[in-house]
Amino acid sequence: MDDIQLLASIESYLAGEMSPTEVSVFEALRKKTPEIDQMVVEHKLFQHQMEDYAATFNIKHTLHEVHNRLLENGDVNEGGELSTKAQVFQLWNRYKRVTAIAASVGGVIALVISGLVAYFSPVVNGNQIQQLSKDIEIIKRNQQYQGSLINEVKSKIPNGVTVISGGSGFLIDPKGFIITNAHVIKGTAAVVVDSKGKEYNASIVHIDTKKDLAILKINDEDFTPLKSLPYSIGKSNADLGDEIFTLGYPRNDIVYGVGYLASKTGFNGDSLSYQIQISANPGNSGGPVLNNNGEVIGVLSTRQAQADGVAFAVKSKNIFEFVNEAKESDTILENIKIPVHSSMKGTQRKQQISKVADCVFNVKAFSKK
């Protein structure tokens, strides 16, 4: 009897679909051959497992649906905006006309007031916070410094264009997707340089200036995708006092910095970022901020100009939201898989650094003519 037939008869035997004569023949066979007996027992167990699996699978599905429905109706609230769609609709229908009038009056007033404010108010807060992207001056110097190198190895920065801005960035997917700050990317294309000095062409895939995040994709034949990333991107909030470290490119060589999480909010109570105590310099922007477990907890972005060592990092949670939003608008992002398991838990810092360094890049943005 071949395997398929055997399996078919075991199934119909267990389901009670056999005729009495078939059953007696089959049971005799079971008694005679222990292997078949064993298979029947095994299959019964398997079927039971499959039933449990199907039940759990379906209940998970239902729970998911219910959650989303309740979220939509506003019965469940997950922060953000209260999505009381149904209610809003009712209110909208009732107050349509009033709203329209109020809105136009409000609009006019707002315009007048903002005009007045802009006219009369002094410039405040201009330099309190400093983005850590390298400005043109520094880049210019770097390029002069690189002059000698460029003669030996031809740079991938096209001739005749100037680098506008630069900073750091790190991989969020081994296939070559790099995350960095939006303010690092002021041009239309970029070249990224790894810790060994190798350059790769990269394209700008998605930018969100509000979250101050951007995604680059390495498009270069010379780039060999990594097997996996050593760190994970943290989903939950970090704790005050967590020891942290960062790697970045304030110079053309990679630089390590260490510090601690100083506050769960950023500049002026900004809840999208952390305040960290670390020495950061222009060029550190876009670098990863990691904790002892090798979890990325943020993206280093700005520092306070008048205070020493006070820097701010965009919370890693935003990376998930940012990538999900980006996925909707761009299909090449569909197969981005953000790493959620760190392989560096419990390893020594020196090992952690050498692993992370392979995934941190020097980003140089320029405008194509």
Partner: protein
């Protein structure tokens, strides 16, 4: 008492995967669990995961025939969630703000142990299904999860008749069993 009957009816609905009953339980209990998780160093996502896990544990319990819930659904769900979340925090090596012990809870350790075992079994089957590849995965999903008939499956997947589909199903099933048992026996 009326409310007690009500709760029994809800649990029966849950056991039958009835989305209206689930919605009612969800509405009555979710915000309580969410508040607990958020107050203890968790995020909105954590709250959802913990709550849904507790719902599954309750569902498993409600399915067994000998099932009697000796306390209110609210108390049970809260106890499970509390246990799950504190455990998770411990695993992450993160502390919790001292959780006040004034809340009413019931012992759920045993139930959770059973639930964890089923969780592990679910993961094994899930992995086996996912490594099966197409069209086996969809075919078996159609048969076992969506409970489609052989005739229907043959039409959906483009087999010329139900017998061919059935033949293919058995081939896939044999592969799935192999994958499943290679993991399952190690787990024992």
């Amino acid at each position: 008492m009326k409310s007690e009957q009500n709760e029994q009816a809800l649990l029966k609905g849950l056991a039958n995967n009835d989305s209206r009953a689930i919605e009612t339980i969800y509405k009555d209990n979710f915000s309580m669990v969410q508040a607990f998780v958020l107050n203890n160093n968790g995020s909105y996502d954590d709250a959802r995961d913990v709550f849904q896990e507790a719902m599954i544990a309750l569902y498993e319990k409600a399915q067994s025939e000998s099932f009697v819930l000796t306390c209110q659904i609210k108390t049970y769900v809260y106890s499970i969630c509390r246990r799950l979340w504190l455990k998770k925090l411990q695993q992450l090596g993160r502390f919790s703000n001292q959780v006040d012990n004034l809340d009413e809870t019931v012992p759920v350790e045993e139930d959770l142990e059973i639930h964890e075992k089923r969780n592990a079994e679910f993961a094994i089957m899930d992995r086996a299904m996912k490594s099966l590849g197409e069209p086996c995965k969809s075919l078996l999903e159609g048969y076992y999860l969506k409970k489609m008939g052989m005739q229907e499956l043959a039409a959906e997947f483009g087999y010329t008749n139900a017998d061919n589909a059935k033949n293919q199903k058995y081939k896939c099933l044999m592969r799935l069993k192999k994958l499943f048992f290679s993991q399952y026996n190690i787990g024992d």
